[in-house]
Symmetry: C2
Subunit: 264 residues, 2 copies
């Protein structure tokens, strides 16, 4: 039996939900993405992020923290068929994409640029580190994973709502514009200069590469930087290296951080 007004699996809104979850092209054209689970929804509400609509299964309730958001009810079994994960309190929300144009980060002093970063978990880790260390933005360039991919959204643990994100396809053009904007483009690379010997207090774009191949030779940076390691060079993955590098930027700027953030 279907509750009156509950949406079935073939309803156009449900179909859109499914497409937004599965297809990057759809998220791109529709300028929207889906977040899954009560925890991420609470993060979105707390951050006052825009929310188009919330979807809950029949009989479920949802805490919208006083926000006026459209709630749609899904027929029994629908959510399980379209969602990427099953949570104890299943809920989905469609949100407008949050990425901003590259121009908007001109004038800031610390951005992380991912070039061909492919793992959604790593994308989430980079977003979390960037937020925690006080970066002004994260740029996903080239063949990088879509940061609004459901797995990346989950891995970001809400950081997507707190650090501005830029999505750009053309790597050369993106790095060129960052140079013009006054950023020193620092490529994270095994064999780069120790992060302790690089001045990270000026405007810096920390460029991290692909999980398997790192930064290609064709990626134009001004210099390279590395986490000096005692163990094997492969012992940190790109997400961990980005975290350590972001906090070295933050450490070198201590005292200046408050000022830099205040200028935003």
């Amino acid at each position: 039996m279907v509750a009156p007004g509950a949406l079935g699996v073939r309803h156009p809104e449900v179909d859109r939900l499914r497409r937004l979850l599965r297809r990057r092209s759809e998220r791109s054209t529709e300028r929207a993405f889906v977040l899954e689970g009560p925890k991420l929804l609470a993060e979105a509400l707390d951050a006052n992020a825009p929310i188009e609509a919330v979807f809950v299964p029949e009989g479920a309730s949802v805490d919208l923290r006083g926000r006026d958001v459209a709630v749609r009810v899904l027929s029994r079994g629908v959510l399980e068929r379209i969602a990427g994960t099953v949570t104890p309190q299943p809920v989905l929300a469609v949100c407008p994409r949050l990425d901003v144009p590259l121009e908007q980060i001109v004038g800031t002093t610390f951005v992380v640029v991912c070039v061909d970063l492919q793992d959604p978990g790593n994308a989430g880790t980079v977003l979390r580190s960037a937020e925690a260390a006080g970066a002004d933005a994260v740029v996903f360039a080239g063949a990088s994973v879509d940061p609004f991919n459901p797995k990346a959204v989950r891995a970001s643990a809400g950081s997507l709502f707190h650090v501005p994100v830029v999505c750009e396809i053309a790597v050369d053009d993106t790095l060129g514009r960052l140079r013009e904007a006054g950023f020193h483009r620092l490529g994270a690379a095994v064999g780069g200069t120790s992060m302790y010997e690089v001045d990270l207090t000026g405007p810096v774009a920390l460029v991290v590469g692909n999980e398997a191949h790192g930064l290609g030779d064709e990626v134009e940076v001004d210099s390279t930087v590395a986490v000096p390691m005692v163990g094997r060079t492969e012992s940190l993955n790109v997400g961990m290296a980005a975290a350590v590098l972001c906090f070295e930027v933050s450490r070198q700027r201590r005292g200046e951080v408050g000022e830099a953030r205040g200028a935003r």
Copy 2:
């Protein structure tokens, strides 16, 4: 058709493989664990780690890098039925457990202690960070995940073969013995003293807690330490915080690191 000598799914050695993959108690009693995939096997061979036997499917070959290791052939379909992951070149190896008694790390100067760390991915991340930052050992205490769990082994990306591991059940006793051994026990906790204001150059045991609950009040440490963050306090997970803290220890010891490692 079964190749002569190929082991079927009911063969006692196959049964043991399956039990070692699935049951912590079995890994504990048998003092052995299983590693999966050619990459980890290569890491084990490179590190000259002891290997009991290697298991490959019928018709497959395996590069043992000149090491004299028993190779057992599995009948078609057996590996898929017992392995945790399917890799393009499937191979399993049974290795003796590598954990050492706590006494063996007395006299070292930098250990990471996990208390009730439950996620195998985080266990792997902690091992990788510890290795990269030059820690002398990682202790898994209390209700922590078994670092020889197949997922933790995979997540460690070979670090298990490079950093000594200690497994202890009793948290109080472990922390007591570390204090007696002269370690300053530093609990990683939100609200702890900034890592930049803590002297990390002496013998230090960095204690990290559970993913959801952190370190309980009953966990006895000498003081607490935190990664100073710009963003929300929840923005780093325990694995990322451990990585950043391990590298702060390493940074403060730069110049002394070579000496400390040489003394092992």
